[in-house]
């Protein structure tokens, strides 16, 4: 199957997950909100933990089904992984969402905050990828 079609199908599954979570629990399927809520002691721990278990199980099911989990290898060395993780965590909590919460659920709701946040994080991620790969010469790769 063409990778673009596979990506669109993957996107539809992500959308169905978001609709299921809204329809059944009335919740936004924002990963930083769901998982970050556990870290900061938000209520309703059970469904948050269940969702994350399912998230990790998804690639496992693929591994069992087709012999390939679809999980790729990191592209940068560990100090960059550490810095990236810190920025992703801090930034998504500060900005109130990530690719799923703002980028998918927020845009689907036509939230001005989410539209703006998505434009900003796509722009800074593209600028960063450019600096990492073309100015720092594929730093850490």
């Amino acid at each position: 199957m063409h990778p673009w079609l596979l990506s669109a199908i993957g996107g539809v599954l992500i959308g169905l997950s978001a609709v299921l979570l809204m329809g059944a629990l009335g919740r936004i399927a924002g990963i930083s909100g769901i998982a970050g809520g556990l870290v900061v002691g938000a209520g309703d721990r059970a469904w948050r933990i269940a969702f994350i278990v399912g998230l990790v199980a998804g690639p496992w099911l693929l591994q069992w089904w087709q012999g390939d989990s679809g999980i790729g290898l990191p592209q940068v060395r560990w100090p960059w992984m550490a810095l990236a993780g810190l920025l992703v965590g801090f930034g998504t909590r500060l900005g109130g969402g990530c690719t799923s919460g703002h980028g998918v659920c927020g845009i689907a709701r036509l939230s001005p905050r989410s539209l703006l946040a998505t434009a900003v994080f796509v722009a800074t991620s593209m600028a960063t990828a450019f600096v990492m790969r073309h100015m720092l010469g594929g730093a850490g790769a």
Binding site: L13, M22, G26, L55
Partner: protein, 145 residues
């Protein structure tokens, strides 16, 4: 029942991310690097996810409340402030460095790769640190779309 439904939603999300190529940082960085051999796959992920969610949300919001809970919990914050912009900018920088946003980072834990565990541990630290900051918008939710 709520937890089982959340588990199913998590599995769908994890399968979707993986099929979409989001758990391959090489694919994600190939999309973010416009000056390289640009890979447009993420456009198709976003399009599929946003269109499905936009249609599905309007369908489920016809109900007075969710099937298993008392109310729809949607962000009530409307304010566009420095917190939103700085947070989004920092997140984007982190995403552009390694190619992991929170969903794919957590979904990739199952492969048992040490650098991914490190990234997730630092992400959790970041969530914890940001939660120490005073927040005027804290936990604001409204009941109906």
């Amino acid at each position: 029942m709520k937890a089982w439904t959340a588990l199913l939603a998590g599995v769908l999300f994890g399968l979707g991310l993986t099929l979409a190529g989001m758990t391959q940082p090489a694919v994600v960085l190939g999309f973010l690097d416009l000056a390289g051999a640009w890979n447009p796959r993420l456009v198709f992920v976003m399009a599929g996810a946003v269109v499905t969610t936009a249609i599905g949300y309007r369908w489920v919001w016809r109900g007075q409340r969710p099937w298993l809970d008392a109310s729809f919990q949607l962000p009530a914050v409307r304010r566009i402030d420095g917190r939103l912009l700085l947070g989004a900018a920092l997140f984007g920088i982190g995403w552009g460095i390694a190619g992991y946003c929170p969903g794919p980072a957590l979904a990739s834990l199952g492969a048992g790769l040490a650098p991914v565990f490190l990234l997730v541990a630092m992400m959790v630290l970041g969530w914890w640190l940001a939660a120490r900051l005073p927040d005027r918008n804290a936990d604001a939710n409204e009941v109906k779309p």
